[in-house]
Symmetry: C2
Subunit: 681 residues, 2 copies
Amino acid sequence: MYDSIKKYRFGKPIQTNAVTYEIALSTGEPDYIQISENKKTIEYKMGRNDKIYGLGEAVRGINKRGWIYESYCNDDPLHTETKRSLYGAHPFIIVDGENVFGLFTDYPDKVVFDIGYTDIDTISVTVGSPDYDLYIIFGDTPYDIVKAFRKLIGKSYTAPFWSFGFQQSRWSYYTSKDVQSVIDGYRDNDFPIDAVYLDIDYMESFKDFTVSEERFPEFDSFVKEAVQQNIHLVPIIDAGVKIEDGYTIYDEGKEKGYFCKDDKGKDFVAAVWPGKVCFPDFLNDSAAAWFGSKYKYLIDKGIDGFWNDMNEPAIFYSENRLEKALCKISSYKGKNIGIYDFFGLKDTVLGLSNSGEDYSAMYHNINGESVCHDRVHNLYGYKMTTSASNAFKEIAPDKNILLFSRASYIGMHRYSGIWMGDNQSWWSHIKLNLQMLPSLNMCGFLYSGADLTGFGDNCTEELALRWLALGIFTPLMRNHSALGTRDQEYYRFKNTEVFRNILKLRYALIPYIYSEFMKAVENDDMLFKPLAFVYRGDKLAEAVEDQLIFGDNMMIAPVYEPNALGRYVYIPEDMCAVRFRSETDFTFTDYTKGHYFVEIPCDEVVVFIRKNTLIPLISSAPSTAQLDYSTMKFIGKITAPYVYTVIKEKGILNGISHTEKTNYRIIPDNDTCVYNNYTIE
Amino acid sequence: MYDSIKKYRFGKPIQTNAVTYEIALSTGEPDYIQISENKKTIEYKMGRNDKIYGLGEAVRGINKRGWIYESYCNDDPLHTETKRSLYGAHPFIIVDGENVFGLFTDYPDKVVFDIGYTDIDTISVTVGSPDYDLYIIFGDTPYDIVKAFRKLIGKSYTAPFWSFGFQQSRWSYYTSKDVQSVIDGYRDNDFPIDAVYLDIDYMESFKDFTVSEERFPEFDSFVKEAVQQNIHLVPIIDAGVKIEDGYTIYDEGKEKGYFCKDDKGKDFVAAVWPGKVCFPDFLNDSAAAWFGSKYKYLIDKGIDGFWNDMNEPAIFYSENRLEKALCKISSYKGKNIGIYDFFGLKDTVLGLSNSGEDYSAMYHNINGESVCHDRVHNLYGYKMTTSASNAFKEIAPDKNILLFSRASYIGMHRYSGIWMGDNQSWWSHIKLNLQMLPSLNMCGFLYSGADLTGFGDNCTEELALRWLALGIFTPLMRNHSALGTRDQEYYRFKNTEVFRNILKLRYALIPYIYSEFMKAVENDDMLFKPLAFVYRGDKLAEAVEDQLIFGDNMMIAPVYEPNALGRYVYIPEDMCAVRFRSETDFTFTDYTKGHYFVEIPCDEVVVFIRKNTLIPLISSAPSTAQLDYSTMKFIGKITAPYVYTVIKEKGILNGISHTEKTNYRIIPDNDTCVYNNYTIE
């Protein structure tokens, strides 16, 4: 297997633990690519029709050709199509043309991927300093390369079964009453739900590992009551630790020297939600272990899910630079300032946040050596997340604790999921959500999803509905929205029944979703595949950017335009479309290979089942815990006996879901597409 | 005709001159709509499938349903899909459902159109004060309603023939040498071009009606030399007049009291490009006439085209509010400010520009009465533009001077065109460009176009090419980009020949483009029509959001996605597709009604000609002045004799193009789609 990967080392790379196996170093000129003399730039001349895949969390299409991207963890919530970086850093690409190969530049600071931007025919990959490991992955197809790369970087995180249920979030539900009213909103309206999120306001003054006594009194019992309603509460944990004498986490971190330093060796101070904070030095193993142990406080209260946030790390401003900025601005006072001074003022204020200058002034202690944050920027969120993941196995080996993060780097996929960050209530972000799924899968991130309804700005009912019709297929299925936006919980919309039906359909599909997810983990496979990966050689399929093969048996083609009657769908082989009005009300249509305009009203979900396969369907339930697999039937069209393997979570061993496989054998019957009869093998 | 329009008056409306005919006032309850007791809100319950058209310059689709919009001139360059207002204010909508009617709220300040945003089934139109004229336009179809409305608001502006040629702009060509090198770039590469733009830097310190001696020495000869190369130079004129003693325009305006005032009756001072400025009070007829007369300075130098900018009016900051902001910010200095203070600081700085507070502090002199800017905000750019237009007819009745504006209101369409403002190099803005065209046409604006390649941010070669393939159909065809962006002149790209071919195709199509434009002016018709307007009753056609009927004979369906093989096209009736590789190399394909995936490589332009019609095509030339109509042929498929009327600009009378019509009669010939033979009637 590993003959198909060559590894080159330049300079003295910082070890990222992105890969899990050692590969002997190659020497000499690598195949295909040209490396500049200073080793900082890798070039490749593309053919006119070459396609480029990869880059995980990034804007634009599945084919990344035609833009310049940066692998750089970046807290920027305005994901317009010309943004170069989002929250995750995933410096892996695949070239699919005359030559087919993957390129992984294992380098934990900024990597610039110019993919036909400066020159329409050239890929140019540039690192800041020539210290990195370069992996070239060979294979017959991009799909082969993904599988080889995924083997190299190790098995993906397996989220707990309950986290495949629907989850509701908002910034913020301020009190336990708010949370309970959301639970009631879903339960009273007969909408299934498994989790409600606690955004930053559950804490006391935004202090990690505290709970506001005032707003969440008797939190332990509240968590337990939620559990009795089959609701998991999932609190946020931010990277910054509030500077406050007497706050244990701060006091301990300070005393033990566990915070990042400035260039004078003093604790580096920046401001985020709690005001002034220090950043735990997650690159220092002792500090990481210390911080990880703190999750116990919440786990002991019954919490079994966390989202790690603000861990790029996001910085609103640093003490030093703010003071300088205020000095500069004050000097304008009373003066007749010109237009360029005004723009300077604007830039000064806007430039205070997430500034490279601050990152350059921040230092880590890696095995006793002081390392500038610049050199390891993309590892910060990753290491925050492994600190939690490692601790969970100690604290609660009998639980599989849900964990996902905003910032990420390749390798982190073994420890947690990610969400797609602070998106917007934009139609274009439905499509971005769809297009990012396979790209993330290529980089190992299987447990993922976007903030349904959109985080920033206000969604409309139609947007919420159309996005939901994609969201029911994503492993992480969470509705989340920002402070100041409209209420976006699904039960609040006018067409309640339609939302209910689609949400229930998610639960009816969970046997398929969970089984296919676990198979993808086990086989280092993708859960969401571009059509290009499955129908290789079909030029039309290879160009499809808005449909996905979901698991092995299903194609999805959601609507992502307002006021649409439906959408165009390319059917790459004979398929059986299922038109769901609800989990119990659905019809079948046969499609042969070709182009179709498929009418998809807002109250329907249409999926396409591949020929001679079936998908399982059960009765929905108010929560994943209440799902009854004995209600299982199979739907689709087969002409030969078909075996489907259902994977169920059986228990937890060392913090990991322990599963059981059941083979269902179904015998074809020309008269039906719904099989209630099968034999279990 | 006017029986089909009812006019209601509420309160004491400010007269906008949007309409050109008086209509007797109706009383009693208007049909269809509910008006709130305070007259500030108009409501309408939509049917589930109602479509809503109109609103001119706005984000989102042709069908405006599903968002909240504001008719409010707003300088905001980030046209994401959740923006409520852009530069133009066009408070006209059409409801197409069980009831079919148009609604024009003639009110020159903000009008909020909530079209199924707050409630998915409700339209709610709200004005700030109950002083407005309300027009309800009746008709059998939305298209009928557009025509009736267009008659009401008067004939659209007729741009000069040369302005249908290609035009190149950039912020900025700093010197006459820069301009000449762009002219050379186009001419030397055998690309046709008719105009080059002068953005703000041609002026001396951004002072209107000045030319930098240093950077544009001997400007008069330079203009003349350009004319000899068949190049029109088109300078920008900004609304703000620099405060500078000794600068004639300022001195005169100040002396005569022609500037907008503050609440104490002193000149209102704000800052834009020149630094501190006063705003000419265009709502004061004498001030408007005075400012208009100043264009003579440039017209006398040979200039025959202008773009009026910054006339919402854009305000970077006002003196008063900046000083307050600086005081507030200075007070933070040395203090341990919290996170909310920091956000306050950010908001303070960002809130300085284009603030409602400033608009409320600005006063006009309308016929001797002091009127707060708030009440007439949307008329400012309109009146700046009529001031120029009226002056042109005095200064140079023998010229048809090109004029277009950024800010606009309905009524201004009689005096000038508009461009779509400061867009971005986004693929989504190609589609927005397409979708805005028919909406603008509904409101009377026929001479329009978007900044091709995108104004803000950097375009890629593929984006430039695909956008160009739409841009060749827009009357205003201008490539423009912002300070700091990549060079985006077409001759600079790698695939020079492809750009050249497409640009030449524009010139080959000018007889069609100009003739159809002039017919639309003459008949109060639309140049770009949604398929819904032409194929009424065809449910599929009615839902199409990304194809347009261009003129009477052609359908366009440009590609607006990166890395696309082509796109889906709905063919609403039998059509003949022309696949252009160049003006001389093209092939024909017949399509019958239905859905198709049409392959469209980047180096081809595909158009669809309606059955039994033809379009004229001539040989391209380096400029419109050099076009030779004797090279005319016709292309398409006919089964009966067909007559096409070509309209040519014959001369200028009172500042308006004086035209001549020629009927070309073509006899069908089954063997060909290219007709070189015809009789001229």
